[in-house]
Amino acid sequence: MTNTKNTSKNTTAAYEDQAVKGKPSAAEAVFGNIAKPMFSGKKATTPLKIALTALLLVVLFVLPIYLQGMGEALLLASLVGIGLYVILALGLNIVIGYAGMLDFGRMAFYAVGTYAAIILAIPLANLLGPSLEGLVFPVVMVGAGLVAAFVGWLLSLPVMRLRGDYLAIVTLGFGEIVRITLQNNPFDLTNGLLGLPKSGDFMPSPPFFEYLRDTVQWAIGNEFFFTVTRNVYWYYMVLIMLIIAIIVVRNQDNSRLGRSWAAMREDEVAASAMGVNITKAKTWAFVLGAFWGGIAGACFGFFLGGISPEPFSFLNSVIVLAIVVIGGMGSIPGVLVGGVLIMGFPELIRWFAMNHLGQAGGDIQSMVANFRNLFLGLLMVIMMAVRTEGLIPMKPKFYKLFGKAKSGKGDNSDASAATTGAAPKGGAGS
């Protein structure tokens, strides 16, 4: 349609990758382009940005010590839930924000990851014995990620040719198929509605948990008492996984694959004419997006210590979608803000109601979830009409073949074109 200018820029980038790629330094070879994205032309990170990020990290790492010390264990558990949803949303962001394909069935991969982790964990724990129990979780988490990625690959095979809106409905159907199948206990694997682990089986405990629980005990006066409880342990585990996910996803966006996603998102036909392998790009988007669903699922299963099919409803898929859409498709800060806003704000109201409103708090607590969904629906409608690109929009990327890469700020007409292009397009209509 109108974004031919845009497309040519992106496709130039794909070309540039082959032609102008200089020798990578040793540091770049090891760390990829974490420090300095090679061709994205993003402004070098300013000291202010670094300071703010560091401050945020410090707050995030100290927060559980304060909360647990003051006995706010429930709020900590809510934070774990938020973190898991943000990881899920980061995975979805690859599919929607980068590759421009709408996925309404995110819970499918979350569910596959959770069940895969628990199903694998119990025999593995028996195999390794109690002395190596701690190894089970890391192994199983990677395994769950791979299983989910495999399922993502399987799903990508048939849906490759589907147009945008049909794809959304098919993924919705796939999500429901997974949930119903889990409920029906296929091959006696999932134990139906009763969930896993089956009675008699025990979940192995994660690495260092018991050691940390027994050694770390800080007390200040009578008010403050900190130990590493399950919630604290999983808070840190999820936080670390989240940070890893952010770094990896960010790098993928800046990689050659990320550029081919961007080209495909803006105009599939033009991208393929310029030599982007559409099949490969779509498959990788599905596989990598599903992988993070599996990782989050494994953490979820171990955090709860068991699972049933209930949490994997369509509604929760919509909530993950809303995090990405409202936060900003294709923008990692957007996803973080969206997650905190959509998952965190209602939890805060709920926590406030429980702690400070006594008996009335109980009623409020049950209403918060319904009101949240009501406003979420309304917010999605309003956002689409008023601010399609989300709260924190994706930064437009600028590529330059020769000379220094230009900052995004200078060129306003292009910036607006690129941000509106951030919304995924339905292929045939344009």
């Binding site: 945008g164 409905i169 429901e176 979608l321 969904n373 009501l374 409608v381």
Partner: protein, 328 residues
């Protein structure tokens, strides 16, 4: 054999409801090329409105326990015996119930189009889909908060006293099934005539072929689209009320599965094609009934989803639709 025929009857009743919902999907898709995800909620809202009106007209305790605000409604108490026990009263009551549900839901559909979809008419198609999904979430939770999560449909005395109609052998049709089937056929036939013969129907077809050209020919595109968003939800509301009458209960999240099945029906028949949606509706209904009878009731919904995925992959044009060539 008898089991098979019984399943077939069940499937055709179900299929009639799916066909009514599928028409809403297909009408909107034909004109705006958009999947109106909130259409499933029109079915649900219609069911709830139908429940409210029916309750008012036939349930004594509703008015007796109503607050002062509803005091003027006590006039209805005297008409209740007429409505619930006599044949004429029952027919009249059904007409009122379906009429009110259809008109109110139709108006709701128009309102949604005006505020949620019209601003997005020129934006990418997926934005409209996300907006529709948001609308669906909003409506579900609005009904949940305003009315309740599960409402038990009253069965009018007259309907409860009707005997099942014997067909042959030991096969019988429940009166409600017969009513649903006949009404669906009548509605489908009327709509088909309306779209192919009337002036407004012609305007709708013209708009679906080429919006801009239709506008140049003097057709008011906005009002044609508004009309589409009235007819679709109105038919959906009829299906929702039938659903409540047949299964005796309406829930706030009842729209999702029938909605997706109706969408499957629309795609199966060829989305954008009215007769295709009707055919698809009956086919999906019968397939679902047979699948739950012969294969597995637990995997009934999985089978429908699998059908949907298979059609979209192998024959995206559907049975009656033409194959669409992607243009650049």
């Amino acid at each position: 054999m008898e089991f098979f025929v019984q399943l077939l009857i069940d499937g055709l009743t179900l299929g009639g409801m799916y066909a009514l919902i599928a028409l809403g999907f297909t009408l909107v898709y034909g004109i705006l090329l958009m999947i109106n995800f909130a259409h499933a909620e029109m079915f649900m809202t219609g069911g709830f409105i139908g429940y409210g009106v029916l309750n008012l007209l036939s349930n004594e305790s509703t008015i007796a326990t109503a607050s002062d605000f509803f005091a003027p409604l006590s006039i209805l108490q005297s008409t209740q015996p007429f409505f619930t026990t006599t044949a004429l009263g029952f027919i009249l009551m059904m007409l009122i119930v379906f009429g009110v549900a259809a008109v109110l839901t139709g108006l709701l559909g128009m309102t949604i189009e005006r505020f949620a979809y019209r601003p997005l008419r020129n934006s990418p198609r997926l934005c409209a889909l996300i907006s529709a999904l948001g609308m669906s979430l909003f409506l579900q939770n609005f009904v949940l908060l305003a009315v309740g999560h599960r409402m038990v449909f009253p069965t009018p005395e007259f309907l409860a006293n009707l005997n099942a109609v014997p067909l042959f052998g030991s096969i019988r049709i429940a009166p409600i099934d017969l009513i649903i089937f006949v009404t669906c056929l009548v509605l489908l036939f009327t709509l088909d005539r309306f779209v192919s013969k009337s002036k407004l129907g012609k305007a709708m077809r013209a708009t679906s072929q080429d919006k801009d050209a239709a506008g140049l020919m003097g057709i008011n595109i906005n009002s044609v689209i508004a009309l589409t968003f009235f007819i679709g939800p109105a038919l959906g509301a009829v299906a929702g009320t039938f659903f409540g009458l047949k299964y005796g209960v309406v829930t706030f999240n009842m729209g999702l599965f029938p909605g997706i099945k109706a969408f499957t029906a629309a795609v199966l028949g060829g989305i954008g094609n009215l007769r295709g949606a009707m055919l698809g509706g009956f086919l999906i209904g019968v397939l679902e009934a047979l699948a739950s009878g012969y294969l597995s009731i637990a995997y009934r919904d999985v089978i429908t989803f699998a059908i949907l995925i298979l059609i979209l992959i192998f024959r995206p044009g559907g049975l009656l639709g033409e194959s669409v060539v992607e243009k650049v």
